[in-house]
């Protein structure tokens, strides 16, 4: 049992974080012209990981096998860690005295910038895994490109996150293959999940003025340039999984990036933000 002094040690994590933030100088962070787009884009990165992490964390204690339960919690944990980094930088860029927590817990749905794909309900494990796979494949190629970002701070976050996301993609690809080529039932469920999610996958590659601005500044890649690599990853895995890529359009459902969401996001926020909303200004 830890002794009392041990338990009253001040929070070293916060100290370490502020020390790390002071480390690398990055002119983009103070660039006034770039600020609105850069802030928005950082929220997109952080909101994707926050909302998907939230969804995946809903599985905790309810997974289909103990190993899977652990892996899902681990993935959610990684994504929440990425959120702290992306939204932390977003708050810095915004420079209005807000924190990553303020952004996560005190914005309403209209201000959330995640892809609609991330907020869809978990469904069964087939939907959860297929959603992870489609997102992981994008996330992996995105972060790989971001490690070469003109913004050192972005490149630094991307490099840290990429290690974990490479593993996420490896794991979700592997499971898509095994379940796609498993039993008749697992195959049918995976195909159904793919058909359902496919129309949400295109949003990842549809650029708007925000994406153009950060691409022009050399901070992020041109989204359309990521598409072929994503397509290749996805097609290879689907082929091995004996699954069929849907014929229909991939970009049917869009708008999350601009703050137009599905009905589901409101419920996520109602749950996630409950304590911060019910007890304004309290510290936890």
């Amino acid at each position: 049992m830890p002794s009392l002094p041990d338990m009253t040690t001040p929070d070293v994590v916060a100290l370490a974080e502020s020390a790390a933030a002071a480390q690398s100088h990055d002119p983009h962070v103070q660039d006034v012209d770039l600020k609105p787009a850069f802030f928005d884009w950082l929220c997109r990165m952080g909101d994707n990981t926050l909302i998907l992490g939230h969804r995946i964390s809903e599985w905790c204690g309810h997974g289909p096998a103990l190993e899977e339960d652990i892996a899902l919690a681990n993935t959610a944990l990684d994504l929440i860690g990425h959120t702290q980094m992306w939204l932390g930088l977003a708050a810095e860029v915004q420079s209005e005295g807000r924190t990553a927590d303020d952004l996560a817990f005190l914005r309403d749905a209209m201000k959330f910038r995640n892809l609609q794909l991330a907020e869809l309900p978990n469904g069964d494990m087939a939907v959860t895994l297929m959603r992870e796979f489609l997102f992981d494949a994008w996330h992996f190629h995105m972060l790989t490109a971001l490690t070469r970002s003109a913004s050192p701070r972005v490149a630094e976050i991307a490099a840290k996150a990429l290690k974990e996301v490479s593993y996420h993609l490896e794991r979700s690809s592997d499971l898509v293959v095994r379940l796609g080529d498993g039993t008749q039932e697992s195959h049918a469920r995976m195909q159904e999940a793919l058909d359902r999610l496919w129309p949400y996958s295109g949003e990842m590659f549809v650029a708007d003025a925000v994406d153009d601005a950060v691409a022009n500044a050399g901070i992020a890649p041109v989204l359309a340039d990521l598409q072929p690599a994503w397509q290749q990853t996805v097609e290879e895995v689907l082929a091995e999984a004996t699954l069929t890529r849907p014929e229909g359009r991939a970009d049917v459902h869009r708008g999350g990036k601009q703050g137009r969401h599905t009905e589901h996001l409101g419920y996520i926020l109602a749950q996630m933000q409950f304590l911060q909303r019910a007890y304004p200004g309290a510290s936890w």
């Binding site: 338990m7 096998a65 652990i70 860690g81 069964d124 498993g182 039993t183 007890y279």
Partner: protein, 332 residues
């Protein structure tokens, strides 16, 4: 303590033991570790399976009351810490099921017994987590009580169990600390936060005391388990130790332990304290706790809904093994 009222086989005197049994007991008395392939009395094996199984079940059912607050954690950091904690508990389940497997019982068999109600898990996880302060109280008191029991179990006679305990204890002290950190924040926070903290202590105090199992005078299975070094201390010893360590921590928080009879006894060098309501305890064990039905249903549903997933993976494993065999044949 995650193992309560584990039924143990009857105690034998040295004269009643066979030569094998006597040699086995002597090894234990010399603090030698018993390893899976070695001879052991059937009663030792059975008792261990019950105890390790119950402990493993407690870890995974224990994910539920805390998992209940992951999506509502108040900050990103708290969310990450809680996720890591609940993930650890699943990991503890995994180590313990593996330890039980070395005794010849599969994880699926143990799950089956959990789901049918033939095996129990700790009574504590049948209580609900109602406010965020409960995440503090559970870490502080529940993991705290678990540590009380598990630290001595690191020296238990069965090698795989002892090694699992050593790994688990490292993580449990982090769990307790994060719980206490939440309590500190709440206790020094707004009046509402302080109220939640006190309420959490009020609700979890007696259920935490119950974790050590019934009073020694009613604890029928202790002697044999202690001789086998499967159980290292009596229930009352551990409960007293827990109270002695926890009361000053509650005082430090400025919270009141919900026991009017609680007093330091100079003569004994221990706190005097009120026993929990044992009738309530036996009701919870019987299935009549506030959340028994929900907890078990959640575990069964997860298992049933996961059937196709597990079947899919094993079908794929069979297919790829067949493909590998075919490829080897073709290559020859």
């Amino acid at each position: 303590m995650y193992a309560q009222m584990v039924k143990s086989e009857g105690m034998k005197s040295a004269d009643e033991m066979s030569p094998e049994e006597r040699a086995f007991q002597e090894r234990i008395d010399r603090n030698e570790k018993i390893e899976p392939k070695e001879w052991m009395p059937e009663g030792y094996r059975k008792t261990l399976i019950r105890q390790i199984g119950q402990h493993a079940h407690s870890e995974i059912v224990g994910q539920l009351p805390e998992g209940n607050w992951i999506t509502r954690a108040p900050t990103l950091e708290r969310k990450a810490i809680l996720l890591a904690k609940v993930q650890d508990e699943a990991g503890h389940g995994l180590y313990l099921y593996s330890a039980a497997e070395t005794l010849g019982v599969s994880r699926d068999e143990l799950f089956e017994k959990l789901h049918s109600g033939a095996m129990k898990y700790s009574s504590i996880f049948n209580y609900p987590t109602l406010t965020w302060a409960d995440m503090g109280a559970v870490g502080w008191l529940v993991d705290g009580a678990a540590i009380m029991n598990q630290v001595p179990l690191q020296r238990t006679s069965y090698g795989p169990y002892s090694r699992a305990m050593i790994r688990i204890c490292k993580e449990e002290s982090f769990h307790q600390r994060q719980g206490y950190a939440i309590m500190m924040k709440m206790a020094e926070g707004t009046p509402e936060q302080k109220e939640m903290a006190q309420d959490a202590l009020n609700r979890f105090w007696y259920p935490a005391l119950m974790m050590f199992g019934p009073s020694d005078k009613d604890s029928v299975h202790s002697a044999q388990s202690m001789a086998w070094k499967i159980k290292m201390n009596t229930n009352d010893e551990l409960r007293q130790k827990f109270v002695d360590e926890t009361v000053p921590q509650a005082e430090y928080l400025g919270l009141t332990v919900p026991d009017e009879t609680l007093r330091w006894n100079d003569e004994r060098g221990h706190y005097d304290f009120a026993e929990p309501d044992w009738e309530e305890f036996f009701e919870v064990i019987k299935g009549n706790g506030p959340c028994n039905r929900e907890r078990l249903e959640a575990r069964r549903t997860a298992w049933d809904n996961g059937q196709w997933f597990r079947d899919g993976l094993s079908a794929y494993a069979d297919k790829s093994a067949a493909r590998r065999r075919a490829a080897t044949v073709a290559a020859e």
